[in-house]
């Protein structure tokens, strides 16, 4: 499932978690769970960014050839 989430969605969820935590709307009890989720999301985003970068570089390289 995590593979199908979009970067944008992942990013938005991640940002929401950060905001929620900062606003103290998350109890200590939930916090661990949320942090875990956030970690996952960060990973996903980074992976997507890397993939995209590779992709783009490939395309642009072709153009220059």
């Amino acid at each position: 499932m995590s593979k199908e989430i979009k970067y944008t969605e992942a990013f938005d969820e991640l940002q929401q978690i950060v905001v929620d935590i900062e606003d103290g709307e998350i109890t200590v009890d939930e916090l661990s769970v949320k942090v875990k989720r956030a970690s996952e999301l960060i990973k996903i985003c980074k992976e997507k960014l890397s993939a995209t970068e590779e992709d783009v570089n490939l395309i642009l390289k072709e153009l220059e050839e």
Partner: protein
Amino acid sequence: MSEAPKVFTLKQVLSSIKKTLEQRYSSTYWVKAEMHKLNLSKKGHCYPELLEKQDGRIVAEIRGMIWQTNFDRINKRFIQTVKEPLKDDMTLLLLVKITYSETFGLSLNIIDVDPNYSLGELQKERQETLKRLQKEGLINRNQQLGFPILPKRIAVISAESSKGLSDFIQVIENNSWGYQFFTMLFPALLQGDNASDSISAQLERIKRVKNHFDMVVIVRGGGGEVGLSCYNNYELCKNIASFPLPILTGIGHSTNLTVAEMVAFRNAITPTELGDFLIQAFHNFSVPVKDAVKRLKVSVSNITSEVKLHLTNESKLFRSAAKQMLAENKQIIHANVKGLENNFKFLLLNHKMMIRKNEQGVYRSARELLSNEQNELEKLQDALPSKTNTQLISEQHKINVLAQSIRLMDPINVLNRGYSITLLNGKTIGEKNTVKKGDKIQTKTATFSVESEVVKTENNNE
């Protein structure tokens, strides 16, 4: 009266008078006197009556006497100087000797007469006549008349027997040019005391028929130099000066001009000269008339040759003007042909150049357009990777920031610093989850988890 008176004989007495007078008046004397009558005797002696007048009245009178021998000498010298003979009624300056004769009585013996004195007297008369005529404005009157251009009809005042007249007629009638004069004689005395009246009378006659005449001539000839003082006579001179026709004189003398000659229209010295003058007047008329033909001929030939020259010149001018005009027009047409050729060539050249310019313009601007597009495209191509990278980097950054926040907020990290969490029934303690004595609570640290029982509670807020 005792003694008888002494008786003298007449001769004794007269001889005594004669002796006394001769002793008393032994020299000669110059006496001025009027000679009333000359009284020339047959023997040639003269016994003139001598007088002196005052206001027309005789105040002195005596008998004079000139011996024949003296008279001849005196008269000759007098005529020589005065141009007049001794005659009656003359005032003379006389050299006299007083003589007394027992038989003839007292008389003045005239030894000499001063002719110069008489000449002066005559000249005085001449001067007076001139002065009077001058004063009366008559002196130039006759001369101011117009002289006939052809003096044909001539009234002649002369004496029939005068040599002057025949000379004059001879000259004007026998001229070789066939000039015809008309003359008519008006006879008159030409010298001496009666001459002035005689001439004046004839002038009066001529005046009556003046329309028949062009002029009057007074001619006299062969009369010598004597007896001309009549021509100084005022009356005669006045008649001449004021006469309505020109009067010409030919009196024939060589002395001073008389007043009559001076006031006449013209004076010729001799009748012949006068005739010549008239002939000359005819010449003056005839010559120009004769010349007119010659002059006409010359000027007509001048005019015609001049006009011919004009005409020839004009016709030459005309010819050259016409030819020049044609030549000019030809030249202008030729210039137009040249102009046409030049302008046409220029126009074509211009157009060729413009086409060439446009051709180059098309090429250049098409190239430019293409190269511009290429540039634009390359700019975009260049921008694409950098823009993409920028976005990727920015995303990376955002992710990193979020990751940092999460890391800070992870409770594990709090616990690591020695904090712990106390839970009741798995939940944090709060107002909703209050702790009572005896509740079993869990304490979590970074490394341990402890379970404890509550001994005492206390409210921190109160």
